[in-house]
């Protein structure tokens, strides 16, 4: 670990945590309908889509709208991927995706996962990237934030029957939040060297006289929304390690900022919406503490040189540089990676498979915690609300009252739904991962044996279920088992989690909002932050510890004992 590395981490957090505050206040204004500078466009959208913006939705209507939109987009994206050779903007003449890969990819982009079992340069056209993938990067991100907004509204007052209008939320978030920031960020990226072109290739003449075709395309815009909407699906296979996606350390800082900032802004927006800023900052604090600990932990673990490299005399001084871009170095790589797994981005600027076992365990653990640090746009917020409800429920009784959060009583129905959503994640990660490790087709996907192989498989299922999309790599994911299995895991991880959460919001919204008193469980102080972190780790992460022991932990001790697999 170096001072420069530590300073880099500090810089990222100062920029993110500082920037999240004004952004959060702005998002609150968007969700409350106070930002309307594009009102004519908004009305045009409603008119074209036949949406009545004044219609308030009950939670069931909200779910139906969300599912309807997602199903249509899933089918649409599947069609685009299957038919891309007949669609415009395919100068490379790329053929159709296989049905199972198209399903996997469509599920992946509809659920804000962006798990990529394909090599973009060879398997997807510029048109499909722009009109298929990039569109879904906006829609799925906006849908997540819309659901977060519905959850926030549930806490604002007593006896609410409705949670807002999904279509209005979706439109406003896209128009006032995602598009403006993405356009500005894309311009900054273009300025730094990212391409934004419809040309298929750049042709380069190497000094040896040969001609090299270098893939280019409409990269910059997709890159911006990839980070800002915590999507993570790279234009190129190498993702943010590719110099066209992430040319310089400055774009690296920008991208790291983009992928974290909404996640931290949403709790701030929440504090504003419920009129109690400190309540929002408590969630923001818990997210920040876990993420900072993860960044420091991964950086510390990665600063150790691989003992086998040392023994072979090839160790580089700063630590484990295997699989990293020299222009970024260790701190900027691990921080980006932990940020992208702490959010549901899953973008990478270094190769997770090459990390030291414990450093690789950090991104895995960040995902297992349920993506709350700060999690995907919207999803991170509503997931931490689930944990906040569970925290209040477990420990809230200790003040001598039945549990309540922000004046809303937490009762059997909420607990049932919350446990259901936590259970869904556990089942898909552990059953999927375990099953894949004992079937021949699953084992055939593994490039590594031993605990490293186990980590890779566990990572893949965790990444899919938690809608992250980060890949540790090292497995061939385009197999029937993994395409269909992971695709299903993504859909359940997204919707089987989200629907109970919206139901919780509906149930809480209808309850009376009890006034605070000195006998109320305080949920805005350091104590609650500590409790919440404890509950996230115990209820969100502990069930994965046995599997983790057989993966990264076993590998760590074996590696330092000189054993590889």
């Amino acid at each position: 670990m170096t001072i420069a590395g530590g300073a880099y981490i500090a810089l990222i957090f100062v920029l993110v945590l500082g920037g999240a505050i004004p952004l959060g206040l702005y998002i609150a204004r968007i969700l409350q309908g106070e930002v309307r500078f594009l009102a004519p466009v908004e009305h045009g959208v409603y008119a074209v889509c036949g949406v009545d913006p004044a219609r308030e939705m009950r939670w069931q209507d909200y779910v139906v709208a969300l599912l309807l939109l997602s199903v249509i987009h899933l089918v649409l994206l599947y069609a685009i991927l299957r038919l891309q050779e007949y669609l415009p903007f395919n100068p490379q003449h790329i053929g159709p995706m296989s049905p199972r890969l198209a399903f996997n990819t469509a599920a992946s982009f509809t659920t804000n996962t962006n798990w990529q079992s394909y090599a973009p340069e060879a398997q997807i056209s510029n048109g499909a990237q722009m009109f298929g993938l990039a569109v879904h990067m906006f829609i799925s991100a906006a849908a997540g934030i819309a659901v977060a907004g519905a959850v926030m509204r549930a806490f604002t007052s007593s006896g609410l029957q409705t949670l807002g209008n999904f279509y209005v939320d979706l439109t406003r978030i896209t128009l006032y939040l995602l598009l403006p920031f993405t356009i500005v960020a894309a311009l900054l990226l273009v300025w730094s060297g990212s391409p934004q072109t419809f040309a298929p290739f750049a042709t380069a003449h190497t000094i040896f006289g040969s001609v090299q075709k270098i893939a280019v395309g409409p990269v910059a815009l997709q890159e911006a929304i990839k980070e800002f909407g915590t999507n993570g699906g790279g234009f190129f296979n190498a993702n943010s390690a590719h110099p066209f996606e992430n040319p310089t350390i400055w774009t690296n800082i920008l991208e790291n900022w983009l992928l974290l900032v909404i996640g931290f802004a949403l709790p701030v927006a929440f504090g504003r919406m419920v009129g109690r800023p400190r309540q929002g900052y408590a969630l923001y604090g818990a997210m920040a503490i876990i993420l900072i600990a993860g960044c420091i932990g991964a950086y510390a673990a990665e600063s150790h040189a691989n003992p086998l490299h040392v023994a072979a005399g090839i160790s580089a001084a700063p630590g484990n540089m295997e699989g990293k871009e020299v222009r970024f170095g260790i701190a900027a790589s691990t921080t980006f990676n932990v940020s992208a797994t702490g959010t549901s981005t899953g973008a990478v600027n270094s190769f997770t498979d090459s990390y030291m076992p414990l450093a690789g365990a950090v991104p895995l653990f960040m995902m297992e915690l349920g993506e709350v640090t700060p999690g995907g746009v919207g999803s991170g917020f509503y997931t931490i609300i689930v944990f906040a409800l569970l925290s209040v429920f477990v420990a809230g009784l200790m003040v001598g009252r039945t549990p309540e959060y922000l004046g809303k009583k937490v009762q059997a129905r909420e607990i049932k739904l919350a446990m259901l959503s936590v259970l869904i994640l556990t089942v898909f990660i552990l059953v999927g991962g375990g099953f894949s490790l004992i079937t021949t087709s699953g084992l055939a996907s593994l490039a590594n044996a031993g605990p490293h192989g186990l980590s890779e498989m566990l990572y893949a299922w965790t990444s899919a279920t938690e809608n992250n999309g980060s890949a540790m790599a090292g497995i061939s994911a385009d197999t029937p088992l993994l395409d269909y299995g992971l695709g299903t895991a993504m859909l359940f991880g997204r919707f089987a989690f989200m629907i109970p959460v919206i139901a919780i919001a509906g149930s809480l919204a209808a309850k009376p909002k009890l006034p605070d008193s000195s006998g109320t469980f305080p949920t805005d102080g350091a104590l609650f932050v500590a409790l919440l972190i404890g509950v996230i780790i115990i209820l969100g992460g502990l069930q994965f510890l046995p599997a983790m022991t057989l993966g990264p932990l076993a590998e760590h001790f074996a590696l330092f004992a000189g054993k590889t697999y």
Binding site: L390, F393, V394, A395, G396, L397, M398, V399, G400, R401, T402, P403, G407, V410, Q411, A412, E414, I415, K416, M419, L420, V422, L423, T426, V427, L430, V431, G433, G434, L437, I438, G450, P451, L454, K513, L514, P515, S517, S518, G519, F521, P522, L527, L531, G534, I538, L539, L542, Q543, F544, L545, P546, A547, T549, L550, A554, H556, F557, A558, A561
Partner: protein, 679 residues
């Protein structure tokens, strides 16, 4: 407060013996299904036993499996035992109640006009609506309402209070309870309850826990615990393929041990005991809750409606000040006030003598040959006539007319109105035809009540004083007692309206009452405490009954409710926090063969993999019995504000829950090691 019949020791030998037997009976899986965590433990214990026996039969040595199985069975037994002990304590109380319900012969009255004509009928054959005659030393055969007569009744069978109470027809004191005894006079009672559903029967059922249903919070907690159990079940079952891949042979006893250590057996085993013990604490306090839900609601109460008289003030006005008119010494006024009160035997009159004695050291005695003028409600004054002394004390207008004074001096009327404005009652004192001054009679606020209200406020509970007094008097007392709100000139409708208003703000309200006209408000309140001395209607409407008929107990009832919730929360937190250390004990042990490097995680330095697993299982089992006393006694509630309370409890039961098993497991491992058991 009177203590109920007998205090039951925390661990009564007879109760323990019975509980041990019941604990075994409760192993019946169909009964255990109600408790998902312990049910899963039982299934796992069964499975481990089967595997152990199979190994023994095959001669592969099943000692370890069987040892684990024994401790898993003990885990289940300890959990059922905890519940049985709690129930046993309730049953012991029920026994003492049941003694009151004997098979008496009742005197069935056939014609209400001739109550002395009766037919002996077994009490068990009485129907609702029957009339019975109850005479001196008869037991009242069943619950009913007095339709004729007045009698003193010994209700100690129910209340534990031996002083008889007066019961009479009409009004708020007409209800009688089966099993109580008439000690003087006679009454005719209309039976209001069928046999088997009398007050006594219901009390016995409640105390025994036969009618115990899970409360809303218990149901929610059960869901959480069931959810955690399923999550850990998934984690442990899927460990089989992960282990298989890793060439780590995971045997059934090991997986069983891991699962049972991870699922929240501690709180799962103690949850119902905590609930039963909470009801029991109320009963010890001579309050019967008709449902566990009411006890829970008591902890949640945000506002207490308290009757002024008897709760906030002593109930009688007492002398509190003397204001002489100019030219009169205070001491002279005091002397005359005392002399004139010799004929006043009311509590107010006695309070004047006591006040004068305490404040001025004057003990008034009637001079030789004095005539005492006794106090009467008609004259509204009392006095004393002796040669040269004619003193009077009483209501201002009565005294003024007695001394034929048409207009009082300005200083006197000023003092009168000042006292009245302060909410007190002014009395005039005269000697001869001279006005001496004003005596202030004041509703005296109980000495410690202000501190108690401050404590309630720190708990976030608003106190509301309910009184029939006028607004001025009420506000003065309210300010002195430090209540948050006042309902003055209160009618039963006012109470009901106030409760509805507060509930509309989302707050929970507790109140107590005894009259029939209190019944609607008692029913509306979230916690309605009816006085045992009250009417049948009030007792039906409330969800708690105070056998001592002491309205001050509302405050303690709230504390008991909070204590129940705190105990439940603390043990849940403790149970869940325990998991961390159990991982450190078990995980390195089960994977050590496959990955020897994982031995580094054995931070407790446990002797061997077997002893590590066994120690964790043993700790997991005995922590249940170790916590039974805490579960039964409850964790003390402190009125230090929610933030401070949370910090304190989180520190003890949260951090303690993380740390305790490290020490416990290590200690058990050391013992196993010293006896060379699996190490």
């Amino acid at each position: 407060m009177t203590q109920h019949a007998e205090t039951i020791a925390l661990f009564d030998r007879a109760i323990l013996a019975r509980a041990a037997r019941d604990a075994v009976m409760k192993l019946n899986p169909r009964l255990l299904m109600r408790n998902p965590v312990i049910f899963v433990t039982e299934i796992v214990a069964l499975l481990t036993t089967a595997v152990g026996i199979e190994s023994v039969v095959r001669g592969q040595g099943g000692a370890f499996a069987l040892t684990i199985a024994v401790w898993l069975w003990l885990t289940v037994l300890f959990a059922t035992f905890a519940e049985a002990v709690a129930e046993g304590r309730g049953r012991a109380r029920a026994e003492s109640l049941r003694r009151a319900r004997t098979d008496t012969m009742a005197k069935l009255v056939l014609d209400p006009r001739e109550p002395q004509m009766w037919k002996p009928t077994p009490a068990l054959d009485l129907r609702k609506g029957d009339l019975v005659l109850v005479e001196t030393s008869d037991l009242i055969p069943s619950d009913g309402e007095i339709v004729q007569g007045i009698a003193s009744v010994n209700e100690s069978a129910i209340t534990g209070e031996s002083a008889p109470v007066i019961r009479e027809s009409g009004g708020d004191r007409s209800a009688v309870t089966g099993g109580t005894q008439v000690v003087s006079d006679w009454i005719v009672v209309r039976i209001t309850a069928e046999q088997g559903s009398t007050f006594l029967d219901r009390m016995i059922a409640l105390v025994e826990g036969a009618e115990r249903r899970k409360t809303p919070n218990e149901i929610a907690l059960d869901i959480l615990l069931a959810g955690l159990t399923i999550i850990f079940l998934v984690a442990v079952v899927t460990l089989v393929p992960f282990g298989d891949y890793s060439h780590a042979a995971l045997r059934v006893p090991v997986l069983a041990a891991l699962l049972v250590c991870l699922i929240p057996t501690t709180i799962g085993g103690l949850l119902s005991a905590i609930g039963i013990a909470g009801m029991d604490r109320l009963i010890r306090f001579n309050v019967i809750a008709t449902s566990g839900r009411a006890v829970e609601a008591a902890g949640d109460v945000d506002a207490l409606l308290l009757d002024k008289t008897g709760t906030i003030t002593f109930g009688n006005r007492m002398a509190a000040g003397l204001y002489p008119v100019p030219g009169v010494q205070e001491r002279e006024l005091a002397e005359m006030a005392a002399l004139s009160s010799l004929g006043d035997d009311t509590p107010e009159g006695r309070s004047i003598l006591a006040f004068v004695r305490d404040r001025f050291g004057i003990t008034a005695t009637a001079p030789e040959g004095a005539t005492v003028v006794p106090f009467s409600a008609n004259t509204r004054l009392s006095g004393l006539d002796a040669p040269g002394i004619h003193v009077r004390k009483g209501a201002v207008d009565s005294v003024l007319s007695a001394i034929s004074l048409s207009s009082a001096p300005q200083a006197f009327t000023d003092a009168v109105s000042r006292v009245a404005r302060a909410g007190s009652t002014p009395l005039a004192v005269s000697a001869g035809n001279r006005l001496l001054g004003v005596l202030e009679l004041k509703d005296i606020v109980k000495p410690d009540i202000k501190e108690r209200f401050a404590a309630l406020r720190r708990m976030g509970i608003r106190t509301v004083m309910v009184t029939g007094d006028n607004r001025i008097t009420a506000n003065a007392i309210a300010a002195e007692a430090g209540v948050d709100d006042v309902i003055a000139e209160a009618t039963p409708q006012d109470k009901l309206a106030y409760i509805r208003k507060v509930q509309a703000e989302g707050r929970l309200v507790a109140m107590c009452g005894d009259g029939t006209n209190d019944a609607p408000a008692l029913a509306q309140a979230d916690v309605g405490v009816a006085m045992q001395s009250g009417t049948q209607a009030a007792r039906e409407a409330g969800n708690m009954i105070d056998l001592d008929s002491d309205p001050t107990k509302l405050i303690e009832i709230v504390e008991i409710g909070k204590q129940l919730l705190i105990t439940r929360g603390a043990l849940t937190t403790f149970s869940i926090a325990n998991d961390i250390s159990k991982y450190f004990a078990i995980l390195p042990a089960i994977f050590l063969a496959a990955y020897p490097g994982l031995g580094a995680l054995n931070i407790m330095q446990l002797a061997s993999p077997e002893s590590a697993i066994l120690s964790a299982v043993i700790f997991n089992a005995i922590i249940i019995v170790a916590l039974v006393p805490l579960a039964l006694r409850g964790i003390k509630f402190r009125a230090i504000g929610a933030g401070a309370l949370l910090r304190r409890n989180l520190l003890i039961y949260g951090l303690g829950g993380i740390a305790a098993p490290f020490a416990g497991i290590k200690a058990i491992d050391l013992v196993l090691h010293s006896f060379h058991i699996f190490s």
